[in-house]
């Protein structure tokens, strides 16, 4: 063992990553009296300095298009300039590849709090049936836990972070501990009525945003730009809601710009240390620990395990089953937009509200037999008088053409009349979608990179056709005009990874020969190794993953603390 290791103290728990999983582990372990060290691959977050909340586009000379005009050329590879910082599908010096025929976009966020600084704050519980997909339809794999196992942790998570919603008694959208949410915007009220005619439910959104002061955090002030980050922490982010408060206890050691390379094990097969690169000094560091929690985001966690090779673990750590990296999924997303004449000429008013949508459509055909695709989706809604941004009037420019006062009139008439329905559906894990180490390529830290394989199946294509039909019916039911879209169905699905709900790849299960983790997200093979992000997910239900990441991590943290107390870890 090198000198570097012998001279350093042994930390209780080292957590790799500070997003929803790492933040929750930090909060709960510290509450239970443990000391934690967080390795975060990006810089420290300073909300007052880093968040562009309330900024007008004219406050920057490039108006949000980037000084080099990247907005006009980069397409989906570029992240909104005004969003909370330090995340992208492309990170300088940290590449990844897609296998021929695959197009997977891998979002990474390198900053304290990770993606929770910018995400949509949608907070949906999985349904009871979501945990038993194989038992229901013979596809995929059942989770080793049931809804009842996680329900108490959903309660704890919602009570702590604060979630708006309403009790509806719908099986596909289990009720939780809710604060009162805001009323529907005008276009949302139209959608609710159009849905009602079609027998489709449309209920108040569940969002991790505060309608009243809660746990020392101020109430939302309805500026509608949650993705920019919230200086008053009125929405959930692991940085502001979990890590910063936990740091005040003195039991958190946060190390920023620390890029984990691999986990080091001893002859007994336990993890003894984490090797990482200090990005600032470009130097190798190692930190000893009693237990390690990998919470680096699904594919990054796989990458760390797969790169932790030794003679004892030739396939990487916790990978005796060969399942690490396998069964990668992302949400099935498809969109339909309509121009709604009923909204033309309406008195313009402040429609910012909370984040993107105040009502949503939970999956409604979960009990319907003989559908031509398995599982389901929920519908998110876009519309209203948004803050003008570059590109916001591009479609009206294309349709109206011309110039001068006529163009201005067309833009004014069109403003606020577009309504978009966005489907968020369940992708079934398949053998063609996975990540693996591309041993020919390393990043700028010398760490072997990931290569992605990704393929949608007939199930997803059929689901998208169902989305397109139903979205059109809902929009036309409120008089909306939907432009004809003759693209093949495969082109109407958002590319894998683009929704940033990539998950799976280090899955839980009762059988160590087919899964990497047990029901507490503890490695079957390495007893002091835990995973706490979306990597352990066995399926990717049509509910945004963050609330389940938080709840599952909470359960894992309690188990880990108890096992350490008993001396088992």
């Amino acid at each position: 063992m090198p000198q570097i290791l012998r001279s350093t103290p042994i930390h209780d728990v080292v957590i790799i990553g500070s997003g929803a999983g790492g933040g929750t582990m930090t909060q709960v372990l510290v509450q239970l009296g443990l000391k934690v060290t967080i390795l975060e691959a990006g810089p420290m977050l300073n909300p007052a300095k880093d968040y562009k909340e309330h900024m007008w586009p004219y406050q920057v000379a490039h108006r949000g298009a980037d000084p080099d005009g990247a907005f006009y050329f980069a397409g989906s590879g570029r992240y909104n300039y005004f969003s909370a910082p330090n995340g992208s599908w492309d990170i300088q010096g940290e590449p990844y590849t897609s296998a021929p025929g695959s197009n997977f976009r891998w979002f990474r966020s390198r900053i304290t709090g990770g993606r929770t600084n910018h995400y949509g704050r949608i907070a949906l519980r999985f349904s009871d049936y979501d945990f038993k997909p194989y038992s229901n339809d013979g596809l995929g794999t059942d989770w080793p836990i049931a809804y009842e196992d996680l329900a108490p942790y959903y309660d704890k998570a919602e009570s702590f972070i604060g979630v708006c919603g309403s009790k509806e008694g719908i099986r596909s959208a289990p009720d939780g501990v809710f604060l009162q949410g805001p009323p529907p915007r005008v276009h949302e009220a139209l959608i609710q009525r159009s849905c009602k005619k079609l027998g489709i439910p449309c209920i108040p959104s569940r969002m991790a945003i505060l309608s009243k002061a809660h746990n020392g955090r101020a109430a939302c002030h309805y500026c509608g730009e949650c993705n920019r980050g919230c200086v008053s922490a009125s929405n959930y982010s692991s940085s502001q809601v979990q890590i910063f408060p936990a740091m005040k206890t003195g039991r958190v050691n946060l190390i920023n710009d620390a890029m984990a390379r691999e986990l080091i094990t001893d002859d007994s097969g336990k993890v003894t240390a984490v090797s990482y690169i200090d990005k600032i000094t470009r130097s190798e560091k190692q930190i000893r620990c009693r237990a390690v929690v990998v919470a680096a985001s699904a594919c990054e966690s796989s990458r760390i395990l797969l790169n932790s090779k030794s003679s004892r673990h030739p396939n990487g750590l916790s990978n005796g089953s060969g399942s690490v990296g396998k069964f990668l999924t992302d949400t099935v997303a498809s969109t339909v937009t309509a121009q709604v004449p009923a909204l033309e000429g309406m008195p313009v008013h402040n429609s910012d509200g909370m984040s993107i949508f105040h009502v949503y459509v939970p999956w409604w055909e979960w009990a319907k037999p003989n559908k031509d695709f398995p599982r389901g989706y929920h519908i998110e809604i876009g519309g209203g008088y948004r803050m003008p941004s570059v590109g916001a009037f591009n479609s009206v420019c294309r349709s109206s053409q011309g110039y001068g006062q006529a163009l201005k009139d067309a833009i004014k008439k069109d403003y606020g009349t577009s309504v978009t329905l966005m489907g968020r559906g369940e992708m079934i894990p398949n053998a063609d979608s996975y990540c693996e180490i591309d041993s020919n390529t390393v990043d700028q830290w010398g760490i072997p990179t990931l290569r992605f394989h990704f393929k949608h199946s007939e199930h997803e294509l059929k689901m998208v056709e169902h989305m397109q039909r139903n979205f059109t019916a809902i929009l036309e039911g409120m008089g909306g005009k939907v432009a004809r879209d003759d693209r093949p169905t495969a082109d109407k699905i958002t590319a894998g990874g683009a929704v940033v709900h990539e998950l799976g790849t280090v899955r839980m299960g009762n059988d160590p020969s087919t899964s990497a983790l047990n029901q507490y997200c503890q490695s079957h093979e390495v007893k002091n190794l835990f995973v706490a992000d979306a990597a352990p997910f066995v399926s990717n239900p049509d509910k945004n993953p963050t609330l389940t990441i938080v709840s599952l991590a909470w359960r894992t943290a309690e188990y880990l603390a108890e096992e350490m107390r008993k001396g088992n870890v």
């Binding site: 007052a48 968040y51 000084p67 309406m346 313009v348 910012d352 803050m387 053409q401 001068g404």
Partner: protein, 187 residues
């Protein structure tokens, strides 16, 4: 000012009035930023004159809204945009000279209008071979002029955007709701 709002938030005491004050402060500091003279980064004096005139024809008020400076900044950092605008402006002068024996800025207003009417609509390409270059360029100029104008303080005021403020409660005006419900036939 964001520092203040964060500090107030940390103290758990942020009020709607304070937040609104902060928003107004931001708006005021913004208007003060406008500089009197501007030195173009990507375009020469003749190009500047032509582009300013073009932007103003596309969206009246766009020069005040900073459209020229916006296109100039982005073109100075992006070779593809620079080529689009250098080339497009040269095309405009060439076409104007061919038709009116005058550069675009020196042509009569009616002549400028006649030329713009040809390139501002895709349909004209079919009956006017050779205009594709101009039509493509005009698409870019229109798109970016609109972006610049409607993200300026004047453009945001003109479109009527009322948000980016701080509210104690979110409410929808009853008259707006009734207006849309009635017109949609869903009321």
């Amino acid at each position: 000012m964001l520092v203040q709002i964060a500090a107030a938030a940390a103290a758990g005491s942020i009020g709607q009035a304070e937040a609104q004050h902060v928003h107004q402060e931001v708006a005021a500091s913004k208007d003060a930023v406008k500089s009197a003279t501007y030195t173009p980064k990507a375009f020469n004096a003749h190009e500047e004159k032509t582009l300013r005139a073009l932007c103003e024809r596309i969206v009246p008020g766009a020069t005040q809204g900073g459209a020229f400076e916006y296109i100039d900044l982005l073109s100075s950092n992006n070779g593809r945009l620079a080529a689009i605008y250098h080339g497009g402006l040269a095309w405009l002068d060439h076409e104007s000279t061919q038709r009116f024996q005058a550069l675009f800025v020196d042509a009569k207003a009616t002549e400028q209008t006649a030329l713009l009417n040809l390139i501002a609509f895709r349909e004209t390409a079919a009956s006017n071979p050779g205009l594709e270059t101009g039509i493509r360029f005009f698409d870019w100029a229109r798109r970016m002029t609109v972006d610049a104008y409607y993200t300026s303080a004047a453009g945001i005021r003109e479109i009527g955007f009322k948000g980016n403020g701080a509210l104690a409660e979110f409410k929808v005006p009853q008259e707006a709701m009734e207006y849309a419900l009635k017109r949609s036939g869903l009321g």
